[in-house]
């Protein structure tokens, strides 16, 4: 397709004596881009206003489902903030309740604690693997493991969340976990069978759990020793669950507010 004659910046360049198409002034160029930029910004902000609550809701719902899953469907759970002085029900001063580091303590119907859900992330084979695991602090053993986010190789590394033998292999295992090659297990309580062909991915999963337990184990144990009971108003939130999405959005905010009161 040939250029139409309206676009003539080349012609201007080759023949400066004769400005065929008048060159637009710098002010006009800047004004054009500024106005276009302002409009673009406005439109994006409007769409963001609409989309953000839903994105947050999806994220909260995904985390909530994961917490429930790794703690084997507790009746309720409570968020605890990780602070320098151990676990706390109130967030540390000046920290955003949504992004603050948290663990989740699940309770059964009678209000007794069933275990802590802890998140962690470390680089795997392709990118960071984000996961959450359930941990029984008193016994020092795992309740379950779920990969939240991973870009591991399809067909090989993605077995860390697709291969149910591997995923379920974490239940009841004692920490620190030792990864063993297929068929090399000795029957010890701290062994997890690694995935053939996905050594790095499975080693990373095991590593994340071990490192997180190492970092938080003492805090969790100390907290478990206080024999925590389910709060009177069962967390996650006191909001009537008429609208699942909406209550999920409120999750974090409600937890923060409730813990603060």
């Amino acid at each position: 397709m040939k250029e139409l004659p309206t676009v003539s910046s080349d012609a201007n360049g080759s023949d400066p004596a004769m400005p065929a198409a008048p060159q637009a002034s710098s002010a006009r160029l800047m004004a054009t881009l500024a106005i276009a930029g302002a409009f673009a910004g406005l439109v994006i902000v409007l769409v963001f206003q609409w989309a953000d609550p839903q994105i947050q809701a999806h994220r909260a719902a995904a985390l909530r489902a994961a917490v429930l899953e790794v703690l084997s469907q507790p009746a309720s759970y409570q968020s605890l903030y990780v602070t320098s002085g151990g676990l706390s029900e109130t967030p540390p001063e000046g920290v955003d309740t949504v992004t603050a580091e948290k663990v989740f303590l699940g309770f059964d119907e009678s209000g007794d604690p069933v275990g802590y859900a802890v998140t962690g992330a470390e680089p795997g084979f392709q990118d960071f693997i984000h996961l959450i695991f359930g941990y029984d602090a008193a016994a020092g053993s795992l309740l379950g493991m779920k990969v939240l986010e991973s870009k591991e190789t399809p067909g090989l590394g993605d077995k860390i969340f697709k291969d149910m033998d591997f995923v379920n292999g974490f239940q009841g295992v004692e920490t620190p976990i030792v990864g063993v090659k297929q068929g090399a297990a000795t029957g010890s309580d701290d062994e997890v069978d690694m995935i053939t062909g996905a050594t790095i991915s499975s080693r990373t999963v095991i590593g994340i759990i071990n490192h997180r337990v190492e970092a938080l184990g003492a805090d969790l144990e100390a907290h478990a020793a206080t024999a925590p009971r389910a709060p009177a108003i069962p967390s996650p939130d006191p909001i009537p669950a008429d609208d699942a999405a909406e209550s999920a959005v409120m999750d974090d905010a409600a937890e923060g507010g409730e813990a603060g009161s």
């Binding site: 397709m1 040939k2 139409l4 309206t6 676009v7 003539s8 910046s9 198409a21 060159q23 637009a24 006009r28 160029l29 054009t32 881009l33 276009a36 930029g37 409009f39 673009a40 439109v43 994006i44 769409v47 963001f48 609409w50 989309a51 953000d52 839903q54 994105i55 999806h58 994220r59 995904a62 986010e149 870009k151 190789t153 399809p154 067909g155 090989l156």
Partner: protein, 219 residues
């Protein structure tokens, strides 16, 4: 330059000048996110939306944009539509948005889209630009679907996640990995080229039924 008819504007991008299969534009998403049919569809739809939206807008404002800053202005318009698509996908289909990852944001640099603005929408009336964008977007979608189907069937034994080749099929994992994208595209382009050559051959035979030797130059 020969003027095109509206029908030509619409049809051209779908087949004769298919952005992926003929012009070889927009290959980055075509290689990267066609490992399953749902991903291919979502990417195709997002690109279609960005292309038609920005063609419409560029065509509407073309007289107000000084030619010196036209490329920046087009990119700004395209980037705005991409951000909208990104946010909408994240809000409506979070799982697919997660799968597509950075490739949604990379629609901004899809040369197919900027190419249509520069070569067509910035010089044509709104209606024509829209037809052209719809045609090109559909062509892109067709190419994405072809690749997505091919790769998911061979790489996973399924279509849209539904198993069609049964339990005993050993999936060709390479097909859903990056090399599979190149293999698939190469194979499709080969088939396309072969088919086009055959067509050209048959026209030649029809024009000179008694042999093509003397008419070779004329073709």
């Amino acid at each position: 330059m020969r003027e095109t008819t509206p029908q030509e504007d619409l049809i051209r991008g779908i087949w004769k000048e298919n952005p992926v299969l003929v012009q070889l534009l927009g290959l980055c998403p075509a290689l990267a996110v066609t490992n399953t049919v749902p991903n291919a569809i979502a990417m195709g739809l997002a690109t279609f939306f960005v292309l038609t939206g920005s063609s419409l807008l560029v065509s509407l404002v073309k007289n107000w944009i000084p030619s010196e800053v036209r490329i920046s202005a087009y990119i700004l318009i395209i980037a705005t539509f991409v951000t909208i698509a990104d946010l909408v996908l994240a809000a409506v289909v979070p799982l697919i948005h997660k799968e597509l990852g950075a490739f949604i944001a990379l629609i901004v640099v899809n040369c197919m889209i900027l190419g249509r603005q520069e070569a067509f929408a910035s010089k044509r009336p709104v209606g024509r630009s829209l037809l052209d964008a719809v045609g090109t977007g559909t062509g892109f979608m067709i190419a994405m679907l072809m690749m997505g189907t091919f790769r998911e069937v061979l790489g996973n034994g399924s279509i849209m996640g539904f198993s069609i080749l049964g339990e005993n099929f050993e999936p060709w994992i390479v097909m859903i990995l990056p090399p599979g994208g190149f293999l698939t595209l190469g194979f499709i382009l080969l088939t396309f080229g072969w088919w086009k050559e055959r067509q050209a051959e048959s026209i030649r035979v029809r024009q000179w039924p008694h042999g093509v030797a003397s008419g070779e130059e004329a073709v």
